[in-house]
Amino acid sequence: MERRKFLGLGAGLFAATIIPASLVAANFRETKPEAWKVMNTKEENMDGVNAGIKAIFGTDKVEEGKVKLKAPDIAENGAVIPITASTAKASKIAIFQSANPESVVAVFDIPANGVPDYSIRIKMQKTGTVVAVAEIDGKLYKASKVVKVTIGGCGG
Protein backbone atom coordinates (compact mmCIF):
# COMPACT_ATOMS: atom_id res chain seq x y z
CA MET A 1 0.00 0.00 0.00
CA GLU A 2 2.78 2.39 0.88
CA ARG A 3 4.50 1.72 -2.36
CA ARG A 4 1.32 2.17 -4.34
CA LYS A 5 0.60 5.49 -2.69
CA PHE A 6 4.12 6.64 -3.42
CA LEU A 7 3.89 5.69 -7.09
CA GLY A 8 0.48 7.34 -7.41
CA LEU A 9 1.83 10.53 -5.91
CA GLY A 10 4.78 10.53 -8.29
CA ALA A 11 2.57 10.01 -11.32
CA GLY A 12 0.27 12.80 -10.16
CA LEU A 13 3.08 15.28 -9.78
CA PHE A 14 4.51 14.33 -13.13
CA ALA A 15 1.16 14.75 -14.86
CA ALA A 16 0.58 18.11 -13.20
CA THR A 17 3.84 19.50 -14.51
CA ILE A 18 3.30 18.70 -18.18
CA ILE A 19 -0.47 18.81 -18.75
CA PRO A 20 -2.66 21.93 -18.52
CA ALA A 21 -5.03 21.85 -15.55
CA SER A 22 -8.15 21.35 -17.66
CA LEU A 23 -6.87 18.08 -19.01
CA VAL A 24 -5.72 16.47 -15.79
CA ALA A 25 -7.59 13.27 -15.21
CA ALA A 26 -9.04 13.09 -11.71
CA ASN A 27 -8.76 9.52 -10.57
CA PHE A 28 -10.63 9.40 -7.27
CA ARG A 29 -9.05 6.08 -6.42
CA GLU A 30 -5.71 7.88 -6.16
CA THR A 31 -6.92 11.16 -4.68
CA LYS A 32 -9.45 9.67 -2.23
CA PRO A 33 -8.27 6.12 -1.52
CA GLU A 34 -10.10 5.92 1.85
CA ALA A 35 -13.49 6.62 0.28
CA TRP A 36 -13.52 3.28 -1.53
CA LYS A 37 -13.20 1.40 1.74
CA VAL A 38 -16.14 3.01 3.52
CA MET A 39 -18.27 0.11 4.70
CA ASN A 40 -22.04 -0.08 4.90
CA THR A 41 -23.22 -1.09 8.33
CA LYS A 42 -26.75 -2.42 8.77
CA GLU A 43 -29.58 -2.79 6.35
CA GLU A 44 -31.83 0.27 6.03
CA ASN A 45 -29.09 2.27 7.67
CA MET A 46 -27.65 5.11 5.62
CA ASP A 47 -24.54 5.60 7.78
CA GLY A 48 -22.28 3.96 5.20
CA VAL A 49 -23.70 6.07 2.37
CA ASN A 50 -23.34 9.28 4.40
CA ALA A 51 -19.78 8.38 5.33
CA GLY A 52 -19.07 7.71 1.64
CA ILE A 53 -20.47 11.11 0.67
CA LYS A 54 -18.27 12.74 3.29
CA ALA A 55 -15.19 10.86 2.09
CA ILE A 56 -15.71 11.91 -1.55
CA PHE A 57 -17.00 15.46 -1.18
CA GLY A 58 -15.53 16.45 2.19
CA THR A 59 -18.97 17.17 3.70
CA ASP A 60 -22.22 15.30 4.21
CA LYS A 61 -24.42 18.39 4.09
CA VAL A 62 -26.72 17.41 1.25
CA GLU A 63 -30.01 18.88 0.06
CA GLU A 64 -32.73 16.99 -1.77
CA GLY A 65 -33.44 17.90 -5.37
CA LYS A 66 -31.86 19.08 -8.63
CA VAL A 67 -30.64 15.56 -9.42
CA LYS A 68 -32.70 12.99 -11.28
CA LEU A 69 -32.07 9.36 -10.49
CA LYS A 70 -33.58 6.63 -12.62
CA ALA A 71 -33.52 3.12 -11.21
CA PRO A 72 -35.95 0.19 -11.29
CA ASP A 73 -38.39 -0.36 -8.39
CA ILE A 74 -37.75 -4.07 -8.46
CA ALA A 75 -34.61 -5.67 -9.89
CA GLU A 76 -35.21 -9.30 -10.74
CA ASN A 77 -31.52 -9.74 -11.35
CA GLY A 78 -29.29 -7.95 -8.86
CA ALA A 79 -26.30 -8.46 -11.16
CA VAL A 80 -27.53 -5.93 -13.71
CA ILE A 81 -29.35 -2.87 -12.40
CA PRO A 82 -29.51 0.05 -14.82
CA ILE A 83 -28.97 3.41 -13.12
CA THR A 84 -29.21 6.83 -14.74
CA ALA A 85 -28.22 10.02 -12.98
CA SER A 86 -28.82 13.35 -14.64
CA THR A 87 -28.84 17.03 -13.79
CA ALA A 88 -28.75 20.33 -15.68
CA LYS A 89 -25.13 21.02 -14.79
CA ALA A 90 -22.71 19.74 -12.19
CA SER A 91 -19.00 19.37 -11.60
CA LYS A 92 -19.21 15.91 -10.04
CA ILE A 93 -21.75 13.14 -9.69
CA ALA A 94 -21.28 10.18 -7.36
CA ILE A 95 -23.37 7.03 -6.98
CA PHE A 96 -23.73 5.23 -3.64
CA GLN A 97 -25.81 2.31 -2.40
CA SER A 98 -26.52 0.68 0.95
CA ALA A 99 -26.66 -3.00 -0.03
CA ASN A 100 -23.06 -4.02 -0.78
CA PRO A 101 -20.15 -4.22 1.68
CA GLU A 102 -18.73 -0.85 0.55
CA SER A 103 -20.98 2.10 -0.22
CA VAL A 104 -19.23 3.97 -3.06
CA VAL A 105 -20.07 2.73 -6.56
CA ALA A 106 -18.81 5.31 -9.03
CA VAL A 107 -17.66 8.92 -9.13
CA PHE A 108 -18.01 10.94 -12.34
CA ASP A 109 -15.83 13.97 -12.81
CA ILE A 110 -17.61 16.09 -15.39
CA PRO A 111 -15.39 17.88 -17.92
CA ALA A 112 -16.23 21.34 -19.31
CA ASN A 113 -18.12 19.95 -22.31
CA GLY A 114 -19.63 16.99 -20.49
CA VAL A 115 -23.40 16.63 -20.37
CA PRO A 116 -24.26 15.19 -16.95
CA ASP A 117 -26.67 12.49 -18.09
CA TYR A 118 -24.84 9.29 -17.28
CA SER A 119 -26.02 5.68 -17.29
CA ILE A 120 -24.27 2.70 -15.77
CA ARG A 121 -25.23 -0.78 -14.76
CA ILE A 122 -24.46 -1.84 -11.22
CA LYS A 123 -24.85 -4.94 -9.07
CA MET A 124 -26.42 -5.17 -5.63
CA GLN A 125 -26.46 -8.24 -3.45
CA LYS A 126 -29.72 -7.40 -1.69
CA THR A 127 -32.42 -4.76 -1.43
CA GLY A 128 -30.99 -1.36 -0.68
CA THR A 129 -31.11 2.34 -1.38
CA VAL A 130 -29.30 3.88 -4.35
CA VAL A 131 -28.22 7.49 -3.87
CA ALA A 132 -26.95 9.91 -6.52
CA VAL A 133 -25.15 13.00 -5.27
CA ALA A 134 -24.22 15.93 -7.51
CA GLU A 135 -21.98 18.86 -6.75
CA ILE A 136 -23.56 21.98 -8.28
CA ASP A 137 -21.89 25.37 -7.68
CA GLY A 138 -20.12 24.03 -4.61
CA LYS A 139 -23.31 22.66 -3.03
CA LEU A 140 -24.42 19.04 -2.78
CA TYR A 141 -27.77 17.78 -3.98
CA LYS A 142 -29.07 14.25 -3.88
CA ALA A 143 -31.76 11.90 -5.09
CA SER A 144 -32.35 8.45 -3.68
CA LYS A 145 -34.40 5.42 -4.51
CA VAL A 146 -35.01 2.05 -2.90
CA VAL A 147 -34.33 -0.83 -5.27
CA LYS A 148 -35.84 -4.16 -4.31
CA VAL A 149 -33.52 -6.98 -5.30
CA THR A 150 -35.07 -10.42 -5.66
CA ILE A 151 -31.93 -12.36 -6.64
CA GLY A 152 -28.62 -11.04 -5.34
CA GLY A 153 -25.94 -10.27 -7.90
CA CYS A 154 -22.81 -9.88 -5.86
CA GLY A 155 -21.80 -13.46 -5.19
CA GLY A 156 -24.77 -13.75 -2.85
Partner: protein
Protein backbone atom coordinates in the same frame (compact mmCIF):
# COMPACT_ATOMS: atom_id res chain seq x y z
CA UNK B 1 -14.99 -2.84 -26.31
CA UNK B 2 -18.14 -2.14 -28.23
CA UNK B 3 -18.64 1.54 -28.87
CA UNK B 4 -21.46 3.48 -30.49
CA UNK B 5 -21.08 7.22 -30.90
CA UNK B 6 -23.78 9.38 -32.40
CA UNK B 7 -23.84 13.12 -33.01
CA UNK B 8 -27.14 15.01 -32.90
CA UNK B 9 -27.87 18.73 -32.44
CA UNK B 10 -24.51 19.62 -30.95
CA UNK B 11 -24.40 16.72 -28.52
CA UNK B 12 -22.53 13.47 -28.96
CA UNK B 13 -23.98 10.45 -27.18
CA UNK B 14 -21.69 7.50 -26.61
CA UNK B 15 -22.59 4.00 -25.51
CA UNK B 16 -19.80 1.71 -24.42
CA UNK B 17 -19.80 -1.94 -23.48
CA UNK B 18 -16.42 -2.95 -22.04
CA UNK B 19 -15.52 -6.60 -21.79
CA UNK B 20 -14.40 -7.26 -18.24
CA UNK B 21 -15.33 -9.82 -15.55
CA UNK B 22 -15.54 -7.11 -12.82
CA UNK B 23 -14.87 -9.56 -9.99
CA UNK B 24 -15.73 -8.08 -6.61
CA UNK B 25 -13.81 -9.05 -3.48
CA UNK B 26 -16.56 -11.52 -2.54
CA UNK B 27 -16.85 -13.06 -5.99
CA UNK B 28 -13.10 -13.40 -6.32
CA UNK B 29 -12.86 -15.10 -2.94
CA UNK B 30 -15.56 -17.57 -3.89
CA UNK B 31 -13.89 -18.43 -7.19
CA UNK B 32 -10.39 -18.39 -5.63
CA UNK B 33 -9.08 -16.00 -8.26
CA UNK B 34 -7.46 -12.59 -7.81
CA UNK B 35 -9.86 -9.69 -7.43
CA UNK B 36 -9.96 -7.43 -10.46
CA UNK B 37 -12.27 -4.76 -11.78
CA UNK B 38 -12.15 -1.62 -13.88
CA UNK B 39 -11.22 1.33 -11.67
CA UNK B 40 -11.06 4.27 -14.05
CA UNK B 41 -12.49 5.13 -17.46
CA UNK B 42 -11.76 8.19 -19.57
CA UNK B 43 -13.02 9.25 -22.99
CA UNK B 44 -11.24 11.75 -25.19
CA UNK B 45 -11.80 13.45 -28.51
CA UNK B 46 -8.35 14.38 -29.70
CA UNK B 47 -6.72 15.88 -26.59
CA UNK B 48 -9.96 17.01 -25.00
CA UNK B 49 -11.28 15.06 -22.05
CA UNK B 50 -15.01 14.48 -22.51
CA UNK B 51 -15.86 11.85 -19.88
CA UNK B 52 -14.29 10.50 -16.77
CA UNK B 53 -15.43 8.07 -14.13
CA UNK B 54 -13.74 6.32 -11.23
CA UNK B 55 -15.49 3.02 -10.69
CA UNK B 56 -15.76 0.28 -8.09
CA UNK B 57 -16.26 -3.48 -8.03
CA UNK B 58 -20.03 -2.95 -8.03
CA UNK B 59 -20.35 -2.28 -11.72
CA UNK B 60 -21.97 -5.17 -13.56
CA UNK B 61 -19.96 -7.74 -15.48
CA UNK B 62 -19.05 -6.34 -18.90
CA UNK B 63 -19.92 -2.82 -17.76
CA UNK B 64 -22.13 -0.62 -19.87
CA UNK B 65 -21.63 3.13 -19.82
CA UNK B 66 -23.66 5.80 -21.53
CA UNK B 67 -22.62 9.43 -21.56
CA UNK B 68 -22.92 12.62 -23.58
CA UNK B 69 -20.87 15.70 -24.31
CA UNK B 70 -21.21 18.94 -26.28
CA UNK B 71 -19.17 20.24 -29.18
CA UNK B 72 -18.98 19.95 -32.95
CA UNK B 73 -17.45 16.52 -33.03
CA UNK B 74 -19.11 14.85 -36.01
CA UNK B 75 -16.63 12.72 -37.95
CA UNK B 76 -13.98 12.90 -35.23
CA UNK B 77 -12.84 9.91 -33.26
CA UNK B 78 -13.73 9.30 -29.64
CA UNK B 79 -11.22 7.13 -27.79
CA UNK B 80 -12.07 5.31 -24.60
CA UNK B 81 -9.50 3.97 -22.17
CA UNK B 82 -10.10 1.84 -19.10
CA UNK B 83 -7.66 0.88 -16.37
CA UNK B 84 -8.26 -2.07 -14.05
CA UNK B 85 -7.01 -2.89 -10.58
CA UNK B 86 -4.15 -5.01 -11.95
CA UNK B 87 -2.91 -1.96 -13.88
CA UNK B 88 -3.92 -3.25 -17.29
CA UNK B 89 -5.28 -0.65 -19.68
CA UNK B 90 -7.19 -0.92 -22.91
CA UNK B 91 -7.99 1.77 -25.44
CA UNK B 92 -10.45 1.59 -28.30
CA UNK B 93 -11.69 4.33 -30.56
CA UNK B 94 -14.65 4.90 -32.82
CA UNK B 95 -15.66 7.52 -35.35
CA UNK B 96 -18.57 9.73 -34.26
CA UNK B 97 -21.46 9.33 -36.70
Amino acid sequence: MRIKAKFKKGVTTVKVMAKHAMLSYQEAEKKKVPVNFITHVVAKVGDELVYEVTTSQFLSKNPYLKFAFKGENKGKEVSITWTDLSGKTKTDSKKIK
